[in-house]
Symmetry: C2
Subunit: 401 residues, 2 copies
């Protein structure tokens, strides 16, 4: 009968203090994105297993929590396979469900459609510090807008949230898959090698230009590698690299109208993992966090592959869990929290007197205060200390008289 | 490659209009319960299969979405069983995870602990109109308070939410499992028969006193059934039935301090399904909805069974999905929604001009308005009609000049 007390491996319970920060940030995100015309939507946590395994999820498809068929559909009396015993699984991101959602409801939705999703996703990753198997993603996507107005809106909206949370001096790194490909083509790489080349290029931050060169030379001849890397070296002309791309317009408009304290920086080495990106890609870099705290890009071909109807799309995912972690580390206090009053009531209170206590509590609540009523304990000092630690700034005691 | 467009069987996508109502109600619930001193918490959607199957969930245990083991732990090469291939499942309610959470974290939590949980639960129920296999539950629980102050707090908090949502003239039906048992004992039923008797009594609403009598007589002698039912008949003295129970105090205090338009009514036929209840039980009845829109009760023994440490507990679950359904049927409009302005921008706008457009948008947003910027389409009339239908009350057009 004894219950396992810990959460399942790699998942976590959220305590009140962290939860208060999470709820505040979610509220701020919804409010901010609302001002940019995004509409909240929701899809089920459970998706068709066929959709999840449709090769859009990259490595994440190996990390799916699969759900067992039920009733007559499940046959375990013979040797069988995973495919035969599962019909669904937990979503590993919010982009795939969004594609399905849009395919299902396009007729009921405006065009362009600006979607906001905040929800849990699940990945059976190797558990490690600060990474959990259930975590919250927070995505905005604009579907049906082929122009770079969409990229500008996404970057302005996301950075406005970060600014309101008092993040400063961060960088939006921006690149374009078309520039990436153009540079690889110019050097002479075959198109079939691009993905492999970009995976190596993506390590520039960690191993530097010489590290990238060494790795490329393991698979490709110097006549290609040297002119390729020359394009990234100091002195390369960003304007020339960006020619024909919408990046200059995106950068200049964002810089001119931003509300937060950040820079947009063209970075021709930015790759972003997912191969489904087709145009501009971007990532939030913060010095206080050694890595990305969000990113996204244009993926004009993904929805069409699913629905048969070409639909331009671009999305930006804020690294919700990382933002929360940074705020908690910083000792973030939720602004505008209610004043908290604890009412301690002596045991065996006559009915009329108890009614008075609740009347007083209701009055305080009506005036915006939080009131918690509980019985006075024998160890009143301990009880009061505990309440003070919980943020109760006033304690009122009530006796039978 | 084609994607299945519909959600998995029995689950649903939530469109923006419903989502706006859901988000508003969730915000109102959090705000109201906050004023009563409840703290938001969260547990993972996935629970240990052993916990889920620990016999606290009644019939719900038959409806679990079970999750397949992964990697080496999964062996399908031999005939096997469900137990052998699953290690976890989706939670079917929020009460069981709360027990585990409390067992895991009691040392870090205040006593009494007032918890608010809003989250999805999953049940592989037969799909039917208006009932889904993933739905939101919204529970408040007070752990560690053995006194009826907790019941009063729960009822006041829950009814305050309903009042703020403009529900009127509803009823909180209240009973006490101790009264239920006392009445059965007095008539001469054996304790082992109580659950069966109460299941029949619970049908009073549907089949009436004579129906209940007929069903009881199928299994029990008239010498027991007749005096048993006489206690429920017109003219039975409620005060006598409630003697020794805290119900009179709960009812009088709630009636004296309530903020919403409802009645608390002692109903000795109220049973509530779950056998884990040990004291007062309650349910929200609304004429406009033929059934319960929420309920709860005291369950002082459940947490102790899991943790080995006796912990009094009482909870109230608001029927979130039913509340949303009633609001949508009523054509509920979210109060305080932003004024929405659509900016339509001519294609091929020079950079400086585009910057002006975004500057204007940012100004409007800073003043609390929602602005969505998009490219002017060829069929501008259709585009404008669509925007109007989406609630955009102003449309501004921008040309290259």
């Amino acid at each position: 009968m004894a219950l396992k007390k810990k959460p399942v491996n790699g998942m976590k319970d959220i305590l009140p203090a962290e939860m208060a920060v999470r709820m505040y940030v979610i509220g701020l995100i919804r409010e901010t994105y609302d001002a940019f015309g995004f509409s909240s939507i929701e899809t089920p946590a459970v998706e068709h297993i066929g959709n999840l395994l449709s090769k859009q999820g990259g490595e994440n498809e190996k990390l799916i929590f699969k759900i067992l068929k039920r009733g007559e559909k499940l046959d375990l009396s013979q040797p069988t396979t995973e495919d035969a015993v599962t019909d669904s699984g937990l979503r590993y991101d919010l982009t795939l469900p969004l594609s399905r959602y849009y395919a299902n409801h396009a007729n009921e939705l405006p065009s362009p459609f600006k979607a906001l999703q905040i929800g849990s996703v699940w990945r059976a990753d190797r558990p490690q510090r600060g990474r959990y198997r259930q975590f919250t993603q927070c995505d905005i996507d604009i579907l049906g807008d082929p122009t770079y107005l969409a990229e500008i809106e996404l970057i302005l909206a996301t950075t406005t949230v970060l600014g309101k949370l008092d993040f400063h001096n961060f960088t939006i790194r921006i690149n374009d898959r078309k520039i990436l490909k153009g540079m690889a083509a110019k050097a002479g790489f075959a198109e079939s090698d691009y993905d492999k080349v970009f995976i190596i290029l993506d390590k520039m931050d960690k191993i530097g230009l010489e590290g990238v060169r060494a790795e490329l030379l393991e698979s490709y001849p110097e006549e290609i590698v040297t002119p390729y890397l020359a394009q990234f070296e100091e002195g390369a002309d960003p304007a020339a690299l960006m020619e024909g791309s919408p990046l200059p317009q995106i950068i200049s408009t964002v810089e001119a109208t931003k509300t937060a304290d950040f820079k947009v920086k063209f970075d021709p080495t930015l790759v972003r993992g997912m191969s489904y990106y087709t145009g501009p890609i971007f990532e939030i870099a913060m010095d206080e966090f050694g890595g990305s705290v969000g990113g996204g890009g244009r993926y004009d071909e993904m929805i069409g592959k699913f629905t048969g109807q070409q639909t331009p799309a671009v999305g930006f995912s804020i690294g919700f869990e990382r933002i929360i972690m940074l705020l908690l580390e910083r000792g973030f206090k939720v602004p505008g929290a209610r004043e908290k009053i604890a009412f301690l009531v002596e045991k065996k209170m006559p009915d009329e007197r108890l009614t008075e206590v609740f009347e007083e509590a209701q009055k305080e609540r009506a005036q915006g205060k939080a009131v918690a009523i509980s019985i006075m304990k024998k160890n009143k000092k301990f009880q009061k200390d505990q309440l003070a630690a919980e943020g109760y700034t006033e304690i009122r005691e009530f006796f039978a008289k």
